[in-house]
């Protein structure tokens, strides 16, 4: 049923641009069109498979993406022509490349050693004889297996055993059957005579010459030493980023994962978010294989697109703002912003409020102190610390800056568990540890703090990607200054936590308090 979305007011672009034309991209497009959202496909190839009448830019690519959610301007290149395309939101579902993983197994491809998809397509060596020959699938032994590959392996093993009457073996680590129909497929393969050999703490030894492949292993269940001399071995294929990914990454300024897929290894991005609000990565673009995974991602992407187009995406309470009179255009803010929320307007940086996630990293990093980030301005925070000091009669006064995504929830849980904060400790909740500048730290010491603690997220789990790293490097900077003036460097300390680590929070605070007590109150 088609329903018109109630779109956010204010002249925002109300359309969706989809990069890619595969099944995942098409499902997203169909879902958005069913909600009466205009869709534009930008496809490197031709529009094969996309329903007639769809708005498709074929043989086209995006070279730049400016603006923020609701108001992106894409630079498009098509047939040597350049033009711009507006977009309310963008989803990238570009195809990756399937590559045989033989090198990870220490094997060369040969007539006997074949990529999985060739075997799955029925392309067998001439030497294979029905009723006699032996086929081996090498699956998930060199790296974590992918359930979509597991499906292909089991399907083709089933075909070889049942239709070609081959003795068929699947050598694997965990056989992941927690997907639609996979366990049934496993049972069918077993019924057809496929033998699965699982390896948990050992691996098969594979020797390969021109004449033959020799596989030997100890079956972990029975302890029996087995050998196999397969006539054909199928090796896993893995999804790799296609060459186009690099270009897309550069055009959209996306953070990638270690393999180069267009979603960073960051739990906060699941399922389809990227470091940029309103730009999503789905299916193969974020490294997923298989029809079921693509369908699930298409649904998630359609929901995410709808949410941002309606202006209902969660927004940060506080936004950074650049004071143009103070700014010297060093572009530090532009470089450090994970969310790409700083744009350069006629050689002047400006924060795009819709894109700003309110982490405060730019304000803390700005060498000119030209970025306001209310209410976390160093002067305001320091004034609060002075007041807190005056309220406390304890000899020893300490200050802790706590990241709102990790340390604050951990502390709240500690409170629920009956923890009592040390009376001399003043805690300040901040959006990200990366928002704490050297000025914040010095302000605390000026107010009479004997020690300052900064707790952020674990480095790989930081929503703003580098917030914890920024905090750590600033603390190190201050510690180096302390060394020079013969002041104990450990009066300022950084730590990291996950949001559920309430016991860890209590331990970190206790260790900090004990250490500072050892140093004693600072000289007045």
């Amino acid at each position: 049923m088609a329903t018109d979305l109630e779109l956010k007011d204010g002249g925002v672009a109300d359309n969706v641009v989809i990069i890619g034309g595969n099944a995942c991209a098409r499902q997203i497009g169909e879902k958005m069109e069913a909600r009466n959202v205009p869709v534009v496909y930008i496809i490197r190839e031709t529009a094969a498979g996309i329903q007639p009448g769809a708005n498709v830019l074929e043989k086209a690519g995006v070279t730049d993406c400016r603006g923020g959610v609701g108001d992106f301007t894409l630079s498009v290149r098509q047939n040597g022509k350049r033009f711009t395309q507006r977009a309310g939101a963008v989803v990238i579902a570009e195809n990756g490349d399937l590559r045989p993983d033989h090198e990870a197994y220490g094997l060369d491809l040969s007539p006997r050693v074949r990529p999985l998809s060739e075997i799955a397509n029925g392309d067998l060596p001439d030497t294979v004889r029905p009723g006699e020959s032996v086929a081996v699938f090498l699956h998930g032994l060199a790296r974590e297996s992918n359930p979509a590959t597991t499906r292909t392996v089991m399907n083709s093993a089933l075909t070889l055993a049942r239709d070609k009457d081959l003795k068929t073996y699947v050598l694997t680590r965990n056989l992941k059957v927690a997907g639609n129909g996979l366990e049934k497929l496993y049972r069918s393969a077993r019924e057809a005579g496929v033998v699965f050999v699982k390896f948990t703490w050992t691996a098969p030894e594979i020797r390969c010459s021109h004449q033959e492949i020799q596989v030997s292993f100890t079956d972990e269940a029975t302890g029996v030493l087995f050998t196999l001399t397969p006539d054909v071995a199928a090796v896993d294929e893995i999804l790799a980023p296609s060459p186009a990914f690099k270009q897309i990454q550069a055009a959209f300024k996306l953070r990638t994962d270690s393999a180069g897929f267009l979603q960073a290894d960051n739990v906060h991005r699941f399922p389809v978010e990227t470091n940029r609000k309103g730009i999503f990565a789905a299916g193969p673009a974020r490294g997923l294989l298989g029809e079921h995974a693509w369908t699930a991602d298409a649904g998630a992407a359609a929901e995410a697109l709808t949410t941002v187009l309606q202006g209902k995406a969660p927004d940060s309470a506080h936004k950074a703002e650049i004071n143009r009179n103070q700014c010297v255009r060093c572009l530090t803010c532009y470089r450090v912003c994970t969310y790409r929320a700083v744009r350069i307007d006629i050689a002047r940086p400006r924060v795009i409020p819709e894109a700003c996630a309110g982490c405060g990293v730019c304000a803390a990093e700005c060498p000119r102190e030209a970025i306001r980030f209310n209410p976390y301005e160093p002067s305001a925070v320091s004034a609060g610390i002075v007041d807190a000091r005056l309220e406390r009669s304890e000899e020893l006064f300490t200050v802790a800056f706590l990241c709102g995504r990790s340390a604050v929830p951990a502390r709240e849980q500690a409170f629920r568990n009956g923890w009592n904060a040390p009376p001399g400790l003043f805690m300040i909740d901040v959006p990200c540890a990366g928002s704490i500048s050297v000025n914040h730290l010095l302000g605390a010491f000026q107010a009479g703090a004997g020690g300052v603690l900064v707790i952020g997220c674990h480095p790989d789990n930081c929503h703003s990607e580098n917030g914890t790293l920024h905090a750590k490097s600033r603390i190190k900077e201050l510690q180096n200054i302390f060394d020079k003036i013969d002041h104990p460097r450990d009066r300022v300390v950084s730590a990291s936590l996950a949001a559920n680590m309430d016991a860890g929070f209590v331990r970190i605070v206790e260790e900090f308090e004990n250490r500072i007590a050892g140093f004693g109150a600072p000289d007045k």
């Binding site: 033998v195 699982k198 050998t227």
Partner: protein, 235 residues
């Protein structure tokens, strides 16, 4: 197994050999839950997963040869926890059935032969059996509260027939008393047959279905003969 260090060409085995067995052993995912739940795991290196795996691969000689199927007590804990529904005790019985009968462990083989001939595993004559039961009954009658206690042998039309484990008329006669006292206190109308009273079925334990049926049928015959509707088979 005897020689674990021999290398076997896996593809030379007939993996379909035991496919017709109705135990679903081919669905084993080698998770090992059976092994961790089995009270006999570790005895002689046994664990149920090994047997299931060997059957799934078709290792016929090895599963007949190994003592493992005889280490198993058929308690069924493995089957309770198996996520793939493999019926392991039934599979173990099937393995046992493949051994030549005179190669089944000594006491089981001899006991079963004797039971088929005489009606019980001990070859105990009827008169001796009756004598032992009445002797035990007399001892009970001497205890306060059990004055005049008699054992109702071959009582026509009783409410309950109970079988006897041969060890209770051999080395553990004291254990008969517990049962009987409970029947007495409960006012149960019970009886015991003077022939084919053996409750232990070594046909079941050795995977000998034919003789298992003979032993079972004999008990049913006694129920018919004595016109008893309920059976207590404490085995």
């Amino acid at each position: 197994m005897n020689d674990m260090n021999t290398t076997i060409d896996l593809s030379a085995l007939d993996h379909d050999r035991f496919k017709s067995w109705p135990n679903d052993q081919d669905y084993c995912v080698t998770c090992g839950l059976c092994s961790s739940d089995c009270p006999a795991s570790g005895i002689d290196d046994f664990d149920p997963r090994k047997l299931v795996r060997m059957v799934g691969l078709g290792m016929k000689d090895e599963i007949i040869e190994t003592r493992w199927s005889w280490v198993c007590t058929l308690c069924g804990k493995c089957q309770n926890v198996c996520p793939m529904g493999v019926q392991i005790p039934s599979m173990v019985r099937q393995i046992r059935s493949m051994r030549d009968r005179d190669a089944t462990p000594g006491i089981l083989h001899k006991g079963l032969e004797t039971a088929i001939q005489s009606g019980n595993n001990l070859g105990l004559p009827r008169e001796d059996f009756i004598f032992i039961l009445e002797d035990v009954a007399e001892e009970i009658a001497e205890e306060p509260g059990f004055e005049g206690f008699k054992v109702p042998i071959d009582k026509q039309g009783a409410g309950l027939l109970t079988t006897i484990h041969n060890k209770l008329v051999n080395t553990h006669t004291e254990d008969l008393k517990h049962w009987w006292k409970i029947f007495h206190a409960a006012g149960e109308d019970w009886t015991v047959s003077s022939i084919n009273w053996e409750g232990t079925n070594w046909g079941y334990f050795t995977g000998d279905d034919e003789r298992m049926k003979i032993m079972t049928e004999r008990i049913v015959e006694q129920m018919d003969r004595l016109e008893v509707k309920n059976l207590l088979w404490p085995e």
